[in-house]
Structures are given as C-alpha cells and as structure tokens.
Amino acid sequence: MDSAATAKDSVAPADATTAPKDFERSKEHDFIGRHFQQFYKTHQVTVPSVSMREFGFGYEKKIDLRHKAFQSQKELQEYFISKVPLYASYSAAFYEYPAARPMSAKNFLKAELIFDLDASPDHEGHNPVMCSHCQESVRADVIRLLEDFLFADFGFSKDETTVNFSGSKGYHVHVASESLMQLSSTQRDQLVEYCAGMNVDFARFFNSEKHKNLPMVDRQVEVIVGPSTASKGWAKRILDRALAILVLPQDEFIAKFRKAGYTKKQAEAIFANKDYVASQLSSGRWSAIEKPDLLVAEIASTAGVGRNVSLDRAVTTDMSRLIRIPNTLHGDTGIVAKTIPFSELSSFDPTNSALAFDLSKTENVVALDHYDFFFAGSSHVLEKDRIAEVPLAVAMLLLCKKKALLL
C-alpha cells in the first residue's frame, strides 16, 4: 500500500443526496480516491471567474451531478479535497446564477469559445491502455487547428488562447477573447464548420469563363479561373495545398495524383510540366491542369481539421456543455488535464509532462488481461492474472481504466 500519511485520511462520499447510491466502494476505488485526494491537497485548481461558472462532477460517469457553483477559489479547492471527484468539469459559459435551474434561470452572460478534439480509437493497432498513435494524431490536428485556422485565418491572439490536454486522449482549445465570448451558437457553428472544411462546395471557388476569338483558336475555349496568390481564406488554402503537392518528389507526386483519381499517364504529364502548372495556378489559371476538380477534391478531403480524429461540433456550439477543468485529474487515467504552453505542444507527452503520481514509487497490481504499452519512455508488459510491480503512475492508470486490481 501507499504511504501511511495518505492512508489515514478517509475519503468522504459525495453528497448523499446527489451521488449515485449504488456506487461500488471497492479497495481499488479507495486507493484511487486517497491518491486523488492527496493530489488536490497539494495542487491548487485555479479557475478564472470561478463564481460565474457552473460545475459538474462525476464518480461513475463523467458527470453525475451538475448545477454546482462556488463563490471562491478556496471553496472549490475544499470541495475537491473533501468530495474527491474522479471527473471535474465546468462551464465555458459565464452565468449570473450558475447554480440555478433550469438552464434558462442561470441567466447566460457570455461563453469562452471551445474547440474539442478527440482521438478516433478505431484505427488498426490501437492500444487500449496508452495509444501513442491516438496521442500523436490528435496533437497534430490541434497544432493545425491553432496554426492554420485560429491564429492565421481567425487572427486570434496567443494571449487569449490556451490549449488543454483532457487527461486522456483529447484536447480542448479555449479562446477567451471578449469580442468572441458573445458569439451565438450559430456563429460558433460557422467557426467550427470553417475549421472542419466539411460540407463546403469547393466549386464555388472556381469560375469557368468562356473565351471566343482567341488568337489561333477558332473554337470557344473554356478557361477555369480559381484561387490565386491574391486569394484568402479557404481559397488560399486550396492553392497552397496544390502548390505543396506540385513540389513533391516524383514518387510521392505520382502517388498523390493517382490517389486523386488521375491516370498514371496524366500524373506523369503534369509532373513533366509542374513548374509551368505551378506558375499558372498561382495566377489563378486552373485550366493549366487537367481535371482540376480531382485535385481539389483530394485537397478538400485532407485540408480540414478532424479528418482522422474527431472535432466535436457540439462542444463548440452548445454553450451549456461542461468541459474538463484544466489541471484536474482525469478519472479514466489518473493523469492531469494539463494546460500546455504552445512551445511544448509539438513534443508534449502526457506520460512525461502531465503525471500526477510518482514513477519512483511502485505498486503491485494484477492485470485483468495481457497488456503491452509504453508509458513515460518505458515499455510495460503485463501478463493476465499475474502480479506485476509497476510505478505508481502506471498502477493508477490501470486501476482507473479498470484493467487491473490491487492485491
């Protein structure tokens, strides 16, 4: 067992009136609770505008009770220490009366703008304990969301934008700019639709102009005019992507065009002319390439955010949603929902940078199945029904995921 210092503190159950009555108080639950409690005794949870937010907490589910409110930071911290929730969420919305119900009685004032990205664990070779593929693919999309869309196109300031790891596989991007906090749900939907690039009629960026009486040509010629270097927004994105494809090495170039639906012969012909094609496209003359719609469709299928991961539209548009409180623990992992500085995002590894529990202490657990995963730079292999001595952080992960039991 863990240190005696934490063992003597019993974890108070949640409000008898609100917590689920049939909650299973197992040895594992007590262990998790004691460690979570110790974490909250030593880590301040800081919530800006705490008294204007609605809070929700979960023990079995992510949110078992909501409509909670706190007058102060201190009151919130005391709640964490005494009730020890496994999941803690708050509203991106600010209310006059955050505890009031129904929702309309809260008197909505404004809301942070939130983007929620999560892994799609349905890929081949997904690791159910800790999947680096999931972690990497979500992180890559978060970076794209920030750099290509929020900072470049939307012009959001870095000072008003924060990135928060969820503590499991996802990320939340919070934008707390006063000018955006009043956006309606429909307006927020437009922003998320823009980033996703879904349901976009890309043909609208192109015009076909019919030219007669061109020198040396006695028939009518159709010229396709599209995005040029003068374009902005999605039009510019289409051109930039096309130009990036045109400078690929030959093998990748041909493969990309083949994937878009061109024949090998067509792809090779474009490759032979690629510099000319690039200069024509840059000035908006898309007739320089055969079947430009194929290339555009290929670009469209990859240029938005949330193609291989999920960009949850409802979190952005539904302002009554509750989302994970930054720097609290995630009950599925025992990992901190950490706020990540932009400079650390590209190299962020939650099993290094968002650990709540010790790697030097160990704990004996019995795995419920065979598991093989990487955590904090080390490989961990556990056999089914065998006792294994693992670092405390790994034990917490397995216990939280209900993939191991204590002795």
């Binding site: 939307f154 012009g155 000018s179 309606s184 307006q187 437009q190 902005k232 927004g233 510019k236």
Partner: protein
C-alpha cells in the same frame, strides 16, 4: 436638418433613431396615426414584392420612425410572419437605397453602428468575424485572413440590408399584452389588409401530406424555437409526397423565408440539413403527436389519414 437628424430619420436601426424615439415618444396615438402607419406598412410590403425598382424616398422628418414602431406593433398582433417579413424587406430596400446616396462619412457612421468592427480599407471595407457571421454570410467562402474579411461597398450594403430586414421583422421583443387597446382594436382590420403567402396558398400539392392543414400552417412560417422541428416535419412530408430533392429544397427555402426572424437566426442551411437527413432516412414517419407537443399545430387535422390510423 443636421447630420444626426438625417441619420435618425432615415435609418430606423441607428442609435440616433432610438434617441429620437425615446426623446419624442409615440405621443398620444390617434386613429389617424394608425391609418398612416398602415399605409406606410402596406407601401413597404408592395415595394418588397415589386419586381421592378420601386420609387424610393428620403425621410425629411421623424414621422416615419413613428410609423415603423406602430407597424411593428400592428404586425405583432396580426400573426402573419409572411407579411412581417415583407415589411422588413421593404424597409431594408429603402435603407439600402438611402445608403447608396450617402457620402463616405455618413455611410461609415451608419454602418459602423451595425458592425462595430467595420473599417475602411482603400476602396473596400473590412469586417471582423463576429460582425461578418452575424448575418447570413457563410464564413467558409469568405476571404478571411487574420480575423478580417475584405468586402466591397455593394456587398456590405446588401449584408446590412439583410440585417436591417431581420431586425425590422423580428417582433419577438414586443409585449403584445402591453399594447394600447386602440392598437389591438385596429389590428383586426389591419390584418385583413395584409397579403398572405401567395406562393404557398396558391400551390396545390399532389400528395396527401403537404395538403394537410398542419403542413400548410407550418409552411406559412413558425416562430423561434419551433423552426427546426418545423423543417423536419416539412422534410418528412416532402419525402412522403414524393417530391424531388430539388422541389423539396425550393419549398424549404420558402419555409425559412416565411419563418419569424429573431435574434437567433435560423439558417437556410439548417433547414436543408433536415431535408438531407430525412431524404437519407426514408423510413421516418411524421408524428402528429410530436407536432402537437412541439406547438407546431394546435389540433389534429380533420380527415388526416395518420390520426385515423392512430386512434384505431
């Protein structure tokens, strides 16, 4: 007439107009005021419907502001969202005409009240995201860069007149119970003088669903909070009646136009998304009970084949 007055008299949505109205008040309302308001309202409605360019005018005094306020009260009593929409469109056309006459200074002074982020940018203008998305613009097609969207004067006027139209026809802020009795009395005759949606009323549908009273009622437009369910109901009826997706889309657009404008905009794309969904799930049935629960209808239609089946 000084500049502030000119803005007040000609742009009902301006700060100057609000100040003028709150300073002057509506005064003692006489029947003659209501008659003048009705004439004004019907003139705008005719102008909105006119295919040829209408004869616009520039306001020389504050009477028009009073007529607008009274028209809106009367329209709120009439329960005719179609007419309210035309009134808004007529007024918006008028504002657009007046804006086209203004010099840069007045133009910017008026439009920056609708769009606080508006900035002149050479011979164009630029708008921030919050302002651009407040209209029915689709952000994905916008030339967006660094949070700014470049827009020419003509498109800006078009956008502003759409916003003006939706503000004028949004009657949700009017407390009907608090209206003076004189207005309530006058409203009955006023309502009779208003046009009803000709495109819908004249149309005979082949199928049995769209011809039901419930669907006609929904098609004529519903209020905020019911618009989405209304679009689902129409989509199902269209699908059951065997309308092509194109025919159904046209009808859906008409429905969106007929719906009440309010602070929470109901976009054509939202209604068309309902249609898309229903056409992809052809097994969905129309539930009269849901229509009733959602307040889209207040009773079951006589002779409805659906309810007969239900009660058996």
């Amino acid at each position: 007439m000084d500049l502030q007055q000119r803005i007040a008299y000609n742009y009902f949505f301006s700060r100057q107009a609000r100040q003028h109205l709150s300073a002057q008040g509506l005064g003692q309302i006489a029947n003659s005021d209501l008659e003048a308001a009705q004439d004004f309202c019907l003139r705008l409605i005719r102008n909105a419907q006119a295919k040829v360019p209408f004869q616009p005018w520039v306001a020389q005094d504050g009477d028009e502001l009073k007529w607008i306020a009274l028209s809106r009260m009367l329209l709120s009593q009439s329960g005719n969202p179609f007419a309210a929409r035309l009134f808004g469109e007529g007024l918006a056309k008028l504002c657009a005409y007046r804006l086209s006459l203004e010099d840069l200074q007045v133009f910017t002074a008026v439009l920056s009240q609708l769009y606080p982020t508006l900035k002149a940018d050479g011979d164009k203008y630029c708008l921030g995201i919050a302002d651009y998305t407040s209209g029915q613009n689709e952000l994905v097609y916008a030339p967006l860069d660094g949070g700014k969207i470049s827009i020419d004067r003509e498109s800006l006027v078009e956008m502003a007149s759409r916003l003006a139209a939706s503000r004028a026809s949004d009657l949700s802020g009017i407390d009907k119970a608090a209206l003076p009795p004189l207005i309530t009395e006058f409203a009955a005759d006023f309502a009779a003088a208003l046009p009803s949606s000709p495109a819908l009323m004249a149309r005979q549908f082949e199928g049995k669903f769209l011809n039901q009273g419930c669907m006609k009622k929904i098609l004529a437009g519903v209020s905020e909070g019911k618009r989405f369910y209304g679009s689902m109901a129409i989509a199902i009826a269209c699908q059951k009646d065997g309308l092509s997706k194109e025919e159904a889309s046209a009808l859906m657009r008409q429905y969106v136009a007929n719906c009440q404008r309010s602070s929470h905009e109901f976009r054509e794309s939202e209604a068309l998304a309902s249609l898309d969904w229903v056409y992809k799930h052809p097994g969905i049935n129309l539930s009269c009970r849901k229509l009733l629960q959602q307040g889209l209808i207040d009773r079951y239609c006589d002779g409805c084949p659906q309810t007969k089946r239900k009660t058996e």
